[in-house]
């Protein structure tokens, strides 16, 4: 039974670590968005009459870039709230099958 508790602890810990790693995905889009907006500002500076179009494209582009971060966020939340239940169920079934 101690081994089961140990396995459960390791599994929960790894779920937390995995969630943390998944959230690292939020760093890249932030950097990319910053560069995209800076470039868009230069474009607006060059052609102020195209401000509406550039702003619209910039916002949509940033939203697309941000989706990558959201994937990481969703994986992280699933690892925290859903995965432990599924994995512990599998672990219990395995232990019962071995007995």
């Amino acid at each position: 039974m101690d081994m089961v508790a140990l396995a459960m602890g390791i599994m929960l810990g790894l779920c937390g670590v995995g969630a943390g790693i998944a959230l690292i995905a939020g760093i890249g889009p932030g950097i990319g968005e910053g560069q995209a907006v800076a470039a868009a500002c230069e474009a607006i500076g060059r052609q102020p009459e195209a401000k509406g179009d550039v702003t619209s494209t910039m916002i949509m582009g940033c939203a697309i870039a941000e989706t990558t971060g959201l994937y990481g966020l969703i994986i992280g939340i699933l690892l925290i709230f859903v995965a432990p239940g599924i994995f512990s169920g599998v672990l219990k079934e395995t232990v019962l099958a071995l007995k």
């Binding site: 939020g26 619209s56 494209t57 949509m60 582009g61 959201l70 966020l73 969703i74």
Partner: protein
Amino acid sequence: MSRLDPTVRKETAYIAAWVLLLSLLMEAVFLLLGKWDLSVLAGNAIGGIAAVANFLLLGITVTRAASGPKEKIALRVRSSMTARLLGLAAVCALAVGLLHTNVYATLLPLLFYRVGIAFRPMLDRRRGKTETGNTEGGDLLD
């Protein structure tokens, strides 16, 4: 609201419409699967509102950063992105952990706006870009 950039307002309305449409579709799927309950509705509402609010804040940040000092643009957008992501994580974690909303119904609406953006160039092309020379960003996103 009056200080909101018209482009941001227009894009947010477009995204909100897509989130609403896909939320209704998701509710219908839950109903068809026989797994619909109030936790699905609550999760969908929270996730949908969070997604639209996230997009609105993104638009506000981007337009404000664009009008600010040039050196701080990247920094502002980056810190806003981090804050918004953490905010979304907190909202979703609170909804799922404390309010016990359906996890999938809470998280899926966060990705609905991506579907709306994917359909954007197609809708623009169909509309025929009637506005004078307005490409609405569709061409650049292709």
